[in-house]
Point group: C3
Chain length 675, copies 3
């Protein structure tokens, strides 16, 4: 505890897998053992987040109640160690979970050190299967559609000769190939998760102190079902995000946008943070990060400086807390090689030293961090249902290896725009479709959104209801600049392809539309055809191409160089009153994405001039109204920057550095300034 | 309907997945709904092929009779949407299928628009498994072998210590590793398919008008069991063939011979047509094509011109009808991105326009198309049993992922010779082993075959009975030129490797034989050692090498350049009376295959001189005795050809173009001439 | 038989899969049929090894006693042909096996030709699963740990919230992710195999003649559980080893250290022999080799000369017998393309001729071969438990595809050092951890080991008990040079990472230690920092890097050139009395490994000067005290060597060749000399 305090830690998180330690035998609780741990932490000024261990039910529960088991896939049993899956809809499970929660929260609610509770863990990382869950799914369909004729019509089951005669005819999700079914199944699954988190939150809220928060940990890289839906059930979002570190943080990076389950490059790091912020449009807690993997043969501690970079990137993009896991490396365990603060010999070493510096630097920011709001020049619409639908298209649907994984084609589309913004020093605010409007009603007026986000990028919005499309139209009418990327406005919420010209419902605003689309085996070169649209040589459309034709009123900004695709426009823009609507018919490579962002957001902010070579920036507005400017060097080569405006180094708050002041950035260095 | 007519369509194919629309509840038939559709088609002069929806049984049948289900693999259930598999041997299923067929055919037999019926779909694309089918298989073995001792001897089961004591000892096919067992299993499966198609045909024949044809759709790229066996049961073959289009049609192509399930390059396109022709040695119907995949993220409409090329290639190689599927893109469906005539918005676009031109051009040929016979300079023997046996050798036999897929080593061997012919402008007639002789009796006399096909290539004929080998000997004696490729004449029909020197039974004719064979990790360079054998530098043997030694009487045409393999001959030829026997001990690369074809068929046909760069040709004899010559440009570069003989452009039948007349071929252009 | 004799064969091995031929029906034995075969062999002077066919139980046994079946994986049935898996712990199976063994051995024990018996085959190549085996495993745990509390503590089950309340809570091995569980499971499995081999040996020993040996065939490339444990149960080891032949034997080779299940390059060949020798630290029999695969489409007979190279390599590294399998290629069979002495036509060909030369050459060595001991300049410690633990870390633990395969990270680590020695002409003796000490007691005194092996390399010794570490310390104290490679001395026998600085228990001897480790995505360049340590440019550390810090008393021999890893030492050495302790913190590439070996064993042996280009050497001491020197040319290029010392060519024993005598080595040639 003393060492934790020394290293600057102010919070610890405990008891995630401790159900059996609380309840060794059915109904026999042992609760006092944690008291001395909490006391010791408090004595060092540290608070504690108490995790409720519902994701790790005790073996006796599995043995006594096998009906509680859910399954990852066909034929799998419950008896595995690493995070077994529970049917969280099972009332028997809920009885035991509630009893345990009430015992633990009741015992420790009055401890001064307990600042909050975590419910569940990695919610929605997996799809649940079990007879009980399938029956609940069918039941939910019955309530929605009343009779099978309705579902036959809505899902178009007639076209493959498989309409239902009775509810019993519904096939299992494992082998489903019908998009409409899949959407219903994913919506049901995300509902199950939200309901379970909500149910736990209510139980705790009845017992906990009003000043104690409730959170749940979302694994963004993996799945998370519907993160804004889950996050609504708690007081604050927690997120776990993984990065490719060490050489993976080089910038400008070359590799693929993302590797599976791991965000690559500095832009992947800030995207992860921006997604966590977006779940509640609020600051969030970060529960674990920077350890790319628990694989014992893929051990990779950061280079010196990278932990500082990570911490500053997260803080400036909205993290209220940055946790590291574990305190010390475990000696027995499948995850014994997880890079921890202390190594196996428990003697402070390089990791401890590096994190101590982070702790000290963060303290220098003081309480101004509390009200921090990360900057944003453009909005980016995120749609979990679109992600499900696009990934279902590309997924291995025949093998039953269904998952909610987001690391698919949706991420590729949306990520291409995000990356372009990051590489131009432009900050992005992610908005969820269901935060804009829901059930046919606005949750925020487009006239309000235009004020803070004058540019809104909508890419991969495959699934959209009429109201959302109308909201986007009103955003343009309110003076916003709407940028429509590929695969947008294609289907209705039932994933039925709309019969209208595409992007459906927006073609009149865009003065452009397409009938044909083509997947690209090789990228197609793009060239500018408007002086103001600064496409660099070598810019390309990738993956997918929509055959855009522009109407005469519209302006074509870029076209393809190709004997067949050359007939189509790449980027078309059209002024609509005070607003503007722009469409891009392909997944832009970084060159094309940067050109688009440069054109969308002219560089009026002088700090953007720092973005060059390995240097990038993030920024935020502090609680006291000051501006936080963070500058990074993602390389081994020392660089020198000149401050574009007067600012104070956060670690030397007394001296105002003048504009033009030269600041040296060491390898993998990060410097934070306030204005 | 009006648009269809406008685009030149003369036939539509309907109701493939409509069982439930015919019979919503068990025994309650609703049959009238199709009448107005057929009437409207007829009003536009279009006929209709009525598909009997046996491949898509209604859900209530699955629910009431689970014993009807077959399985693709262990543990799979019937409850999937996309083409469930039925145990077509099940008598309960046949009862329901027969009742439905009689109702539908009876209702519409008298409709003037109904020109024919399709039974089953993609017959033999899959291996059926179910307890009932396995028991039927064992029963068929009992009838063939009487007692287990016979099967132990015939299958050589003693060598692995696994002889049967009772029929109950027979293991399931899923984990079988015995080639003899696998051959019996594949033969049984193809028999099941033929029997099912035959059974349906008889029922329809009892009811249908004499002028209505019966067909069934064979998926050549996938499997199809034994296509000549299935095709015997119907009046005309229908085929579904897939190509790699767009850039995949470039010629000269570079890539691999074929990608999985999809034929690559123009030669793969005509090979598919020639295979369909071969099933009955008659013209065929083409049910769907040019859409390489139903994968919604692999959408690929043709470049301008490619649909015309496809249609002309198919017609000139024997297609009586070229269908496109679907009429309009479906809005809900796993296959909603299948490239259709109309896009999702149902407005005629580029695909419609392109196909309209095709329709108009084809009409210009008139009725002469009816008696069209595609040209052939050489014969190529095809052996489905050899394909099964070679693919079983290379397949993942341990995992139960058995399939009848042909896209394996057999296709690679046979395809290498076909491609060589195509690239030299030489037409190929595919003959099936079972069309030559069967059950120890000739079906065609070798003296007859020699007259039309003076050269016969036999490659990959791994499985051959004594009579077939004798037939090949008599073909040489009759003056034919027999070309024996690698892996031929190796085993008897029980897939037992023959103990004689190889190619077994042909070594005396060839005056060459081999004892050793070697798989090749890297290709081996080949050089000519005879002035008349025009091997280009860089020619190579690939994949497999048989260590041929030639006897002094034979002439060695080519050898390997390699420190070890250099001792062996590559190509050996030997004159036998008026005939000739030639052997090639490796899978030729395109350079070697072209040299072989050039030597086999000297270019007496002046039209072969057009084959150069991206230009290739196909040809046929029309019903009125005239010659059809089709010339293609498989590239973006316009080319000009000179007619080698006087001919008429089919779209300008009135003017005879002189020899030497220059014809410009645009990118992806095709021109058809008659002589 | 005559041909066998002609080719120089002196032993044949029969009846491996013949149980059913012995016992066609339950209890009805037919034993006489083998007599004429044995007689005929004896008449040609050939002895016979009789294999007891326990690995291939007859189908009637499977049918009558399904409880005897073991399973390879979930859901698999017993009914497959290729080597079904038996639950060898099942008492019913043992009853039948014992009855058959007693009948067969009793019938033929008195035949003069029978020189020995083989029990089991490829022991331990697979993990057995079945309810019975799992229960036996749980029972063995109960005996070891008495109560679940002990196992919870020992295995650290509390850390993932999965401690056991009762023995019934133990999960199945298929989905296990706990290293402690896996080690217990692998130890149990290897115990099952040893026990089964021991049980068979005892039965045979009761009946067989005293001069008949008992052996069992170990598949080193695959798994083999615990080969020294199994080999203890028999009189002599038999091994089956697979190589990548043909181009795969080029030297200097470039490719990866090893491909799956197949040893690559000449060093892989001698490593396989040295492993077989190590099982009993005695000469061994080689049952099959040089056929890289049974795959019918991967047929690859050796180039001329390679069989001779293989035979001499094996003999000079301790093989008492080199067998080839099969005598003739089988005509029906999944393995009908296994390269055999005679091809399918049974006429002697190239393979026969090549092997005949081998037989003649070996005869020239005479009886001196009997007492042959392969040379060894350095020892290499082998640890099967470490191999299990490291491979479990990297394995696909989530899918249940568990295997005992050794072709993983352990082989990569240990192989890198072995290869370095081979490439410097230095011979290696492999010692097993359990041959050094066991159960806390020395099996050999370190003072003895130092005398024959003054250098001992310990790499990948991940699992080590305190006594073994103490033994290593005493080896240094006794004057030995201990070389500690990466991933050594990390865990205790329960695979719990030790809490001490690493390499645990050796840091004081080494005067070096590390806290951090890192997997390497790309190799890191290494440079020498000591004049006597001859690192060539381009030397690299690969795969894994331990962050070594040296104390001032130690000497750093090499360091990394890298902005981050440059702070660490690569190789550190420290004199300890008369001994020396050296540590290397990475998996060396060949350049680094060669430098290390050059430094460890200075080239006092003049024959090492021959190792250059494609030439390598092996050597041994013959039974009569003379030295056997074998020189190889692993290429197509003829080379000339000069004898470094006077020696006699084994095929011309009468003339002593002088030092400097020029010997021409043809392509793929091998020459053997005695001194």
């Amino acid at each position: 505890m003393r060492l934790m305090h020394e290293a600057g830690f102010s919070v610890m998180r405990v008891t995630e897998p401790a159900w059996l330690r609380w309840e060794l035998e059915d109904g026999q609780f042992t609760l006092d053992w944690l008291q001395p741990v909490l006391d010791a932490a408090l004595a060092q000024g540290m608070g504690t987040v108490l995790s409720l261990p519902t994701p790790e039910p005790p073996p006796w529960l599995a043995r006594k109640h096998p009906e509680i088991a859910a399954r990852r896939q066909h034929g799998e049993s419950w008896g595995r160690v690493s995070q077994p899956v529970t049917d969280v809809t099972n009332q028997g499970f809920r009885f035991h979970a509630e009893r345990m929660i009430r015992q633990v929260v009741g015992r420790y609610r009055d401890h001064r050190g307990v600042i909050g509770f975590q419910v569940d863990n990695l919610s929605g990382a997996e799809i649940f299967r079990s007879p009980g869950i399938f029956e609940a799914f069918v039941e939910s369909l019955r309530q929605t559609y009343t009779d099978v004729d309705s579902i036959n019509k809505e899902w178009g089951l007639v076209s493959w000769g498989r309409p239902l005669s009775t509810w019993n005819d519904l096939w299992a999700p494992d082998t489903n190939t019908v998009p409409q079914y899949d959407m219903a199944w994913k919506r049901f699954q995300s509902g199950v998760i939200s309901d379970f988190v909500s149910w736990q939150s209510k139980i705790i809220r009845e017992t906990a102190r009003p000043d104690q928060f409730i959170t749940t940990c979302v694994q963004y890289a993996d799945a998370a079902g519907d993160d804004p839906g889950v996050a609504r059930q708690v007081d604050i979002t927690s997120g776990t995000v993984m990065f490719d570190i060490r050489d993976g943080l080089f910038f400008p990076e070359s590799g693929t946008p993302r590797s599976e389950g791991v965000h690559a490059g500095p832009w992947g790091m800030t995207l992860a943070a921006d997604r966590a912020y977006s779940s509640r449009q609020e600051p969030f807690l970060l529960t674990q990060t920077a350890s790319p993997t628990a694989d014992p043969i893929m051990n990779a501690p950061c280079f010196d400086g990278q932990w500082r970079q990570l911490a500053w990137a997260m803080i400036s993009r909205g993290a209220r807390m940055v946790e590291f896991r574990n305190w010390h490396a475990l000696t027995w365990d499948p995850e014994s090689y997880w890079t921890s603060v202390l190594p196996h010999d428990k003697l402070p070493g390089r990791v401890f030293e590096q994190l101590s510096v982070v702790g000290e630097e963060l303290r220098s920011l003081g309480s101004a961090v509390s009200g921090l709001i990360p900057d944003a020049q453009i909005g980016l619409l995120w749609s979990n249902p679109s992600s499900w639908a696009l990934d279902f298209q590309s997924g291995p649907r025949r093998t039953g290896e269904e998952s909610l994984s987001r690391e698919g084609v949706y991420d590729q589309i949306v990520g291409s725009f995000y990356r372009g913004a990051f590489e131009m020093g432009v900050s992005v605010r992610i908005l969820h479709d269901r935060q804009i409007c829901e059930g046919g009603a606005d949750l925020v007026a487009p006239t309000e959104t235009v004020k803070t986000l004058p540019v809104l990028v909508v890419a991969g919005l495959y699934v959209a209801d009429d109201h959302l499309i109308d909201w986007l139209r009103r955003y343009v009418e309110a003076g916003g600049h709407l940028v429509v990327g590929p695969r947008s406005a294609v289907t209705d919420p039932q994933v039925r392809v709309r019969s209208k010209a595409k992007p459906a419902g927006l073609t009149d605003l865009l003065c452009a539309s397409y009938q044909e689309m083509a997947s690209l085996e090789a990228p197609v070169t793009v060239e500018s055809c408007a002086p103001g649209f600064p496409v660099l040589p070598g810019a390309q459309g990738t993956v997918w191409l929509e055959g855009l034709y522009a109407e005469p009123e519209a302006q074509v900004l870029a076209t393809y160089i190709h004997p067949h695709f050359g007939r189509y426009a790449t980027v078309v823009t059209h002024r609509v009153g005070h607003g503007r609507a722009t469409v891009i018919g392909t997944v832009p490579d970084p060159n094309l994405a940067r050109a688009l962002v440069q054109w969308l957001v002219p560089p009026t902010d002088p700090w953007r001039s720092l973005v060059s070579g390995p240097v990038t920036i993030t920024s935020a507005t502090l609680g006291d109204g000051r501006k936080l400017r963070v500058v990074y060097n993602w390389s081994w080569i020392p660089v020198v920057i000149q401050l574009p405006q007067p600012a104070r180094d956060v670690t030397l708050p007394d001296s105002l550095l003048p504009s033009g002041y030269e600041v040296a950035l060491n390898p993998w260095d990060v410097r934070a300034f306030v204005q």
